[in-house]
């Protein structure tokens, strides 16, 4: 009798926990509103523009010819190339705890005021505590347009080579 009661109660308890967990999940409407399209021809060189995708800031930086010429292979691997121009496109949140770092165009780098993390112009980390460079959002190149939220072949390659998470 006790065991039977326990078994029924356990099923009920597990069922309610599942329901509670699912109730706290993001709503379908939140999940669905997840695409942003950027026209990449409007950006100016070495001028950081912050776009928005899934409520998060997206850094877009068109690199100068000088930056492209001097960058290392590691920095180059993070580039998104559209129409011959090189762009740094990444989620503008410090990979430490999610503050928004500020860009200094003179020093060509980012500084996070929260805990002092630093990043270079390609979004790679140069000073801890952030454990890695900026994350790159899923993207798909479509002519002059960049669609965020959809994973294209260039993004898949970055993910496979471990450039972004």
């Amino acid at each position: 009798m006790g065991k039977a009661f326990g078994a029924v109660a356990a099923v009920g308890a597990v069922g309610s926990l599942v329901a509670m967990k699912r109730t706290w999940d993001p709503l379908p409407s939140v999940k669905a509103a997840g695409f942003t399209t950027l026209d990449m021809s409007i950006y100016e060189e070495n001028k950081l523009v912050t776009e928005k995708w899934r409520g998060k800031p997206i850094f877009v930086l068109k690199k100068t010819a000088e930056m492209v010429a001097k960058q290392t292979e590691k920095q180059k691997a993070r580039d998104i190339v559209i129409g011959g121009a090189h762009y740094m496109v990444s989620i503008g949140l410090c990979t430490h705890l999610g503050c928004i770092p500020a860009y200094d165009a003179g020093k060509e780098g980012f500084l996070c005021a929260c805990h002092g993390g630093q990043f270079d112009f390609s979004g790679d980390v140069t000073k801890a505590p952030p454990p890695r460079g900026f994350d790159i959002p899923p993207f798909k190149i479509d002519g002059n347009l960049l669609v965020l939220g959809e994973a294209g072949p260039e993004y898949m390659k970055m993910k496979e080579t471990g450039i972004t998470l």
Binding site: D25, P26, G55, L97, G98, C99, A113, G116, P131
Partner: protein
């Protein structure tokens, strides 16, 4: 069925049904408190009164507050502060009490540590107290989200990100807690629920447990003396009030307590009326903006010490140090290996440990407020390592402590 007689008075009527005389004895006039105590023993009642102040002011704020990302900020800063008569009073009482309650909690905690009030049967008092500290912290954090200003938003962002577990990248857990990719409506609504319902319920339950845990071992005293409460109370009831080592909780102990409470309330309302600014961060008077981080993100003063333990390290080590700092106080009754239940001043090395720990936490608090650069970064790192080191040393120094 019990036998009831015609009541001779209202008191008798109630007594037959609710045994109010017996309840009064158990709860007050025959609940025995040692005489050998000082003003630090009044912190419990001060905390209870501050909690009631929070509850009452919270009820009034709740009548006008709107848990909506578009209207929350204005319902607080416009409706409550300007439209509602005396709305400012409830807000300032609530804000000041939320801050001051932690000051008293820390005094209460360190009093317990100093006098060894977590040992010899008093472990449950310490445990339930630490659970209260944790729920109060969660209550303070969830309440901080509600005005939906810049500090609300970014503190919410940073603290929920802690749950990704550093290199574990448990982003799904962070998104589950938020109900969105970033703090948004779902986040605000659920933290509102936690703040006004679930956490206060938990706090009420834990206060009950905390008080219950006190009944059998009784309140500690200034010398950690083991008092025979049965014998001493018999002595008191037999008329030897001077010779007895105990006194009644009500109204004898309470009347002394209320003296301290009176002084506290003067200080408290001085803050509410003339110096409330310390509890109102200026940055939080800008509405939440997910695309603009404030220059410095720092928690309220009472979380600074644990924040500073997180800060000087790389993500994973920082998280581990932070986790360590959050749980280590809970284990105090078992990390202190000494059998002595006496004030720290009579415990040799432990006295040094006590003051070093207190000082270290003050240094951590100060460094947590300063920008993380240069010398402050170094001092912060040293203080964080000292904190961890002191806890590692505790079992060792107390193991070799001489019995007093």
């Amino acid at each position: 069925m019990a036998h009831f007689t015609k009541a001779t008075s209202v008191k008798d009527w109630l007594n037959q049904r609710l045994a109010i005389e017996k309840v009064e004895k158990v709860m007050a006039s025959e609940y025995w408190i040692p005489k050998n105590i000082n003003f630090l023993w009044a912190m419990g009642l001060i905390l209870m009164i501050t909690f009631v102040l929070l509850l009452v002011s919270g009820i009034f704020l709740l009548m006008y507050y709107q848990p909506n990302v578009d209207t929350a900020f204005y319902s607080v800063n416009y409706t409550i502060m300007r439209d509602v008569d005396f709305g400012w009073l409830w807000r300032h009482v609530h804000g000041v009490a939320a801050s001051v309650v932690f000051l008293i909690i820390y005094i209460h905690m360190f009093t317990g540590i100093y006098y060894g009030s977590y040992k010899k049967g008093r472990e449950m008092i310490w445990l339930s107290g630490m659970l209260l500290f944790i729920t109060f912290s969660a209550e303070a954090f969830s309440g901080y989200m509600l005005p939906w200003g810049q500090m609300s938003y970014w503190a919410g962002m940073v603290i929920t990100n802690l749950f990704s577990g550093g290199s574990l990248h448990a982003d799904f857990l962070v998104e589950w807690i938020r109900g969105d990719y970033v703090p948004a409506q779902a986040f605000l609504s659920r933290f509102f629920m936690l703040h006004v319902l679930l956490l206060p319920l938990a706090i009420l339950g834990l206060i009950g447990l905390h008080f219950a845990a006190l009944r059998i071992p009784h309140v500690n005293n200034q010398d950690g003396e083991e008092i025979d409460f049965d014998a001493e109370s018999k002595k008191y009831l037999a008329g030897d009030k001077v010779g007895s080592k105990v006194m009644r909780f009500g109204n004898d102990f309470l009347s002394k307590d209320m003296m301290v409470v009176g002084i506290y309330l003067i200080f408290f309302f001085y803050l509410v009326f003339y110096h409330y600014g310390f509890a109102m961060d200026p940055v939080n008077f800008d509405p939440a903006d997910g695309l603009k981080t404030p220059a410095h993100i720092y928690p309220e003063w009472y979380f600074l010490w644990s924040y500073e333990i997180l800060r000087p390290f790389s993500t994973d080590i920082g998280l581990m140090a932070f986790g360590f700092a959050q749980v280590i106080f809970v284990l105090l009754p078992w990390l202190d290996r000494s059998p002595n239940t006496v004030p720290a001043s009579r415990r040799g090395l432990f006295a040094i440990w006590f003051w070093a720990m207190l000082l270290d936490m003050i240094v951590l608090t100060a460094m947590g407020k300063l920008p993380p650069s240069g010398i402050f970064s170094t001092i912060g790192l040293v203080a964080a390592l000292t904190f961890i080191g002191l806890w590692i040393l505790l079992p060792i120094i107390t193991m070799f402590e001489k019995k007093v």
